[in-house]
Symmetry: C2
Subunit: 455 residues, 2 copies
């Protein structure tokens, strides 16, 4: 394999994609894998089940890249036009592959069903192509070099559109082959910092100058409720990781406590790891989040080690009966108040016999807001419970969140989980001003009890 | 607006897309909306943040369609190159829009933060373009006619990449404008049935022959945990809805109780509507789902009318202390048993004083499975509580689910919510055999989405 593969174009075929009924996740998966090999994806295209459009897309893709990977259009029906089109574009005939015919027949025998004649179409392969067996379904894939207009002969790799089948074939037969064809002298080393609590502009300012363009690349990606900061370096396999480590250290130092994880870990995973290391248990008392915090915590395998459980006290009645919130507190301050949140947290820690408890109570919207407490007003409290008669504490904050109902719930759950993280790391909780869309001047005076006692 | 818009090309800009870190869902959303107007999407392209590549993509897109819609690349940083490129392709200058400058400044004032100079870039608009205000963020969009090489002057619509901002702008200012420009003689009328409980092959068999190809189109789309069945008819504005109604009636009759909603409603919304109509209240007792059911229920605005709250009894200790599950039951049958689930449901209804309660207890995995109770074993129970001394009931089922941890949790929450729906409609609960993986393994492998099976 003398020619190196440096660039790739991805092509997805299917009426359901251009019709908006299916999202093309195959190309995103492939792009991610190729990026890991240092291959630049120059374009991702999706076209309908039409020979002219598929053909035009192939020509465009071949003109711009060393490798074209196509997914979809290999089914047994008359709408499946990829192979017919590829053969046309490559200027070759379709030939019947008898070994594939045998494999397809065998699959139907195993299923105990007769093979429709249609499925024979799937064994028609462009002449000269090297076949790639399908490990899970009937449609084989293949790869071949295709003459492009300018004398180049880029590679075309054709795979089925069913994600599970495509991934198995790609990872088994295609990825290793591509890895041999890429430039062994150039790799991309990267690390990603997951941050929460600071807006993108603040992160941008903190990192100004930390990653000079000559040294590497800094990329921000907001995927609510977090912002990922990705540092990447292109270089030889020897120097890239080393240069990356230096840049990552600088980024880490500047971002400080805003970073909750490096790599892919979720906030709840990080919280779980910290609780496990500290040998502490956690309980939840949720009103507006409705169980979302408990659900996120239990998404982590093994969370039963540190998560006892919680109360979803959605009504005032349950806040009183399950958590012991005082009727007087509800009357004087309302359900959405720091006072109520604190009593909920203390109650949860007691009922669940946990070391730490976190409570949320707020107005997720879109209805329920008032002038004093508009939609997005959320009180969060953290309480600790001493096992041996030592200090307990309870602390609370009133936040002004924004956005739709699910947005407010998600943001609240993130702030609550992040509070547990900060508590275990000895960091102060996120202040409402950092997250609030308005200055605190408009907010209520904070009536918080910090490092004090449980009433 | 004399020229009709019949075809569209979609263009998404962003390194994170071609780098495989973000899936381009914006184009899928737009394609779906355009399909509803009978506009054919001829291509969907994604390119990196590079003026040459963006420019080439624009030229390709303009050459093949009456309308090009671009998303992304309108941020304040130096990586945001869409407007610079569009101006170049259109052969016009970028002009500062003072009104937009004012709007951007105002947004930062409301947030109580200083406006970085970078954000002024977002107010640079191609000369001649009509600006589209951003209702949620800082980047305005715009539309303009662009001279294509062949004398045509297709439309370009440029929108930000942040999905929430883009959708608001599209639905408010762009979609109505496009609707005026399409062919009034041809519309697509469609309705979607949301189903749960039957595998695709069973739905396919039930619907065989219900929608002849000459009459309309049937499309299945699996988006776990549901399967949507979309019936569409193309025709004049007068006849299309009428023909659709006839086909929809046939589909509705054949699918029966597997349909939980028509249109976009979620399972939790449907359950909420039924509880409201029946004037019944609901409580939850969750173990393996960890709060997910409560969170889903409370995603629905106004759910406090019927949802009291719940207990996340993640430990055996809390199952006993919060729900009154008998220690003997846990000892004899284990936490994951129909007996325990029933006691949890009865306990929740009592503690929350609700008419109905649903309980889940199971092994979400990947660890925790045994030979007797492998990963995916989940017991679900529904209990009713009589307010006036009348009949109460409790019923349970033991399911064998499959998949990863989040998959098992999601599937469990769906079966549980669907049980409440069925209970209120007088339908029997879903039987484990219907959902068991052993039956699915014997079913057909999925090949292509062609009015029948789903890829």
């Amino acid at each position: 394999m003398s020619d190196r593969i440096r660039s790739a174009a991805l092509l997805a075929t299917g009426d359901e994609i251009v019709g908006g009924r299916t999202v093309d996740t195959n190309s995103s998966y492939l792009a991610d894998k190729l990026a890991g090999l240092g291959i630049e994806v120059v374009s991702i295209m999706a076209v309908s089940d039409d020979v002219d459009r598929i053909g035009a897309a192939w020509k465009i893709s071949l003109a711009g890249a060393d490798l074209v990977i196509s997914t979809g259009g290999l089914g047994p029906t008359s709408d499946d036009l990829t192979s017919e089109t590829v053969a046309r574009v490559a200027g070759v005939e379709l030939l019947r592959d008898d070994r594939q015919v045998g494999r397809i027949r065998e699959i139907f025998e195993r299923r105990g069903r007769p093979m429709p004649d249609n499925n024979l179409r799937q064994a028609m392969i462009p002449a000269g192509a090297e076949v790639i067996d399908n490990l899970d379904g009937t449609a084989p894939g293949y790869r071949l070099r295709i003459q492009a207009g300018d004398g180049r002969r880029p590679w075309g790799v054709v795979l089925p559109g069913v994600p599970r089948e495509m991934k198995a074939m790609f990872e088994t037969a295609v990825l290793p082959w591509i890895a041999e064809c890429t430039d062994p002298g150039r790799v991309i080393a990267a690390t990603t910092f997951q941050t929460f609590g600071l807006p993108e502009s603040a992160l941008d300012e903190l990192l100004r100058g930390a990653v000079p363009a000559s040294e590497g690349r800094l990329a921000f990606r907001a995927s609510f409720p977090k912002i990922s900061v990705r540092v990447s370096v292109t270089g030889t396999p020897q120097e890239a990781p080393r240069r990356l480590a230096t840049l990552a250290e600088a980024v880490r130092a500047r971002l400080g406590g805003a970073v909750y994880a490096e790599g892919d870990a979720s906030m709840e995973q990080v919280v779980g790891d910290l609780l496990t290391a500290a040998k502490k248990s956690l309980a939840t008392a949720e009103s507006c989040t409705g169980g979302l915090i408990g659900s996120r915590l239990t998404d982590v395998a093994g969370s039963s080690v540190y998560y006892r459980g919680g109360l979803v006290a959605y009504s005032n009645d349950l806040k009183q009966r399950l958590l012991g919130v005082d009727a007087q507190t509800l009357r004087m301050h309302g359900a959405v108040s720091e006072e109520t949140a604190r009593e909920m947290a203390i109650g949860a820690a007691r009922v669940a016999a946990s070391d730490i408890a976190i409570a949320t109570t707020g107005i997720a919207g879109p209805t329920g807001g008032t002038a004093d407490k508009p939609v997005g007003t959320v009180a969060i409290a953290l309480a600790t419970r001493s096992r041996d008669g030592g200090d307990s504490l309870v602390d609370s904050r009133m936040y002004r969140f924004w956005g739709g109902r699910e947005w407010v719930k998600t943001l609240t759950s993130q702030v609550a989980l992040d509070w547990v993280r900060r508590h275990l790391l000895g960091l102060a909780p996120l202040e409402p001003e950092t997250l609030s869309p308005r200055r605190a001047a408009a907010g209520p005076a904070r009536n918080a009890q910090r490092g004090g006692e449980i009433s």
